[in-house]
Structures are given as C-alpha cells and as structure tokens.
Symmetry: C2
Subunit: 194 residues, 2 copies
DNA sequence: GTCTATACTGTGATAGAC
DNA sequence: GTCTATCACAGTATAGAC
C-alpha cells in the first residue's frame, strides 16, 4: 500500500460519497438513493461517481460494511462484559443491539432486511457481518450457552424485538423496554448460570 | 353493485394480473415486477394494465390484501383452538405462521418487511393486516394473556422466528423446529394456564 | 371498454472528448 | 479525473383505433 497523497484524497472522496448516501437514505429512504442527486449533493456529475465505486451496488456494499463496523464498535464498547453477571451482560448486549437498530431505520433495513431489490452484500462484505455474529456467539458461549438451538433462539428473540421496535414504534421504546423481561424469559429455560 | 358479465370479466382479468405478478415476484424477486413484462405475460400491452389498476403501487396493494387474506384463512383453518390446551394452540398458531412465511419469500417481504422502496400499503389494505393482528390478540386473550407487554413479547418472538427462518434457512426448518421450545419458554414466564 | 402506439421523465450505466 | 452526450430500461400518461 502506497497511501500517498493521491490515495488519501481518493479515500476522502469515497468517504464523502458514502456520507452523502447515508444522508439521502435517512431522509428519502434506503431505496431513494439515486446516482444523479447523490452526485449533485457532492457538486460532481453522476458519471464521476463511477470513478470511485463500480456502481450503485458497490455503494450499498460499502455502506453495508460501514454499518457492520459501527455495530461492532457499539457492541465492543459495552464489553465490560466480564465484570457482569450473565443476565446483566445479555441485557446490555440486547439493549445495545435494539438501540443500534432503532437509531437509523435505513441502516437497519440495509444490514438486516436486505431491503434493496436485487441487491445482496458481496462475499467480503458479508464476511464482516459474519464476524459480528461470531462475536455474539462467543459472548453467549462465555456464559455457558453453546447449543446451536439456544443461539438460534436467542438471535430470533433479539432480532424480533429489534424489528418490531423499528417497524412499529420507530425511535420509541415499546419493545426496547421488553429487553429485560425477554432476557429473563430466555434464561429461565436456558438455565443460565454464572 | 351490478356484478354483471362485464364486471365479472373485469374481476377475472384483475385476478389474472395479480396471479401473474405473484409468479414474477416469486421467480424474479418482489422488486422485479415491472409493468411491461407483466403485461406481456398476459398477452397485453403495458398501458392496458392501467385499465385495471391505477399503477404499480395499486398492484402491490392488491397483492398485500391477497396475502393477508391468505394468512387469515391459514390461521383460521387451525382453529380447533378451543379443543386445545393453551400450549397446543400457541404451538399450532406459531407453527402455522412460520410455515406461512417460509412458503413464499416474496409474500413474506411484501407483508412483513415492506420491502418495496417508497411503497406503503394503503389505509384500507393496512386495515386487513390489522384485522389479522386483532385475531391473534383475541387468541392470546382467550388463553388468559391480555397484557400489552405479553402480546408485544409474543409478536416479537414469533416474528423473530419467522424472519430468521426466511432469511437464513429459506424453505428449511432450522427455526421452525424452535417453535415448541419458544412457546414453552414464553409460557414459563407468562404462567399460562388452562 | 379495451386495446395499441407513442412519448415523456427518471433511472443506472457507458463512451469518448478534454 | 471530470465532464457532456447518450443508451436502455423503468413507470406512466395520453391519443386514438376498434
């Protein structure tokens, strides 16, 4: 990697494009990102965007990676997990996840609902999402929950809370408040110890 | 309502359009429904579609209503609910729902993920969905679960199972098999009786 | 009433001049 | 690298034949 002045400038422009794309996605909807207005927001012409991204799908792909990186940072920020009880760490993790989803509907749709017709994350982009999933698997393992069935039930429960929250009370806390009861319910049958 | 021969023919054509639209949605994806190929599949020209539907959104709207009607019929078909225990009826209801979602990804996306950019169900169409929700609320009420919190937790749990199943193991049973454990988990803290 | 023909606008993407 | 011009396709509107 040379990372000279040219490459740095190029990376800065790519970041600016993605930032503008997020802004449009939040105000117009995820599917409302179109190349010409996106370019106009940056004072450039639409074809110039293709100098930085191979196409619209590549832009979604980069946004997908950014979103997953943001999620990882958020989840890692609450990792005083070692000093917490199993229940406390599950509550903290689930709450952080639901809050993350609830902050930005467009981001939630891109990351978890694959809401763009015909678009799928590339293999490398998807790998970042898998890493995140692996982190939460490791978290559950650390508190003694290792069975695939238990992990699947946990992901269903947490993703269900998040999707209901985002879809039916965006920005509110109607399902966010259910994180604690949900964790207690989950632990009551998983027999969580520690 | 006259419902003469003309009106009947008209209704039959509308049904044919919707059927063709479902077929395209299942093979090309929900967002892959476009007017010209849709018309071609029926041996007509694209503008002719506008004789039957105000536009593409109106077609999605009618599909949304059809999907919700299908869901209602499915859920009502298993309503020997009175003769079941609370646990049995919850298992039957949740299993029927997850199976329904798992049968047709395009239908699931249309009904529950609002996956079409810029499209929202009309008020009348949404009312049909609300009726379905009301049916399951009544079901839970009949077995003594009345609190909003409990209902919200139930919808999160069941919709989470369905979305994980559809997204990560479409057509399979990885999360479908978790319906029974999920119901037991739910009842263990709701203290379901009867 | 229902169709075909045509055209307008917006989309993602490309070619080639500078 | 960035532009203008352009293409193929989308949804949609209108005109008018039958």
């Amino acid at each position: 990697m040379t990372t000279g002045r040219v490459a740095a400038r190029r990376a800065a422009t790519k970041d600016a494009i993605l930032e503008a794309a997020w802004e449009i996605a939040r105000s117009e909807g995820l599917g409302g990102v179109s190349m010409r207005p996106l370019a106009a927001a940056l004072g450039m012409s639409a074809p110039s965007l293709y100098e930085y991204f191979a196409g619209k799908d590549a832009i979604y792909d980069a946004m997908y990676v950014q979103g997953n990186h943001a999620l990882r940072e958020r989840m890692q920020a609450i990792t005083d997990l070692d000093r917490m009880s199993a229940r406390e760490s599950l509550v903290a993790g689930a709450r952080a996840f639901v809050e993350f989803c609830n902050e930005d509907r467009a981001r939630f749709q891109l990351l978890f609902q694959h809401s763009i017709p015909g678009w799928h994350p590339s293999e490398q982009a998807y790998a970042v999402a898998i890493e995140n999933l692996e982190l939460s698997r490791a978290h559950l393992e650390s508190i003694g929950i290792t069975h695939t069935r238990s992990l699947d039930l946990w992901t269903a429960l947490v993703s269900g809370l998040a999707s209901q929250q985002v879809a039916n009370d965006p920005g509110g806390d109607r399902w966010l408040r259910l994180v604690e009861p949900a964790v207690d319910m989950f632990l009551s049958t998983e027999g969580g110890t520690k």
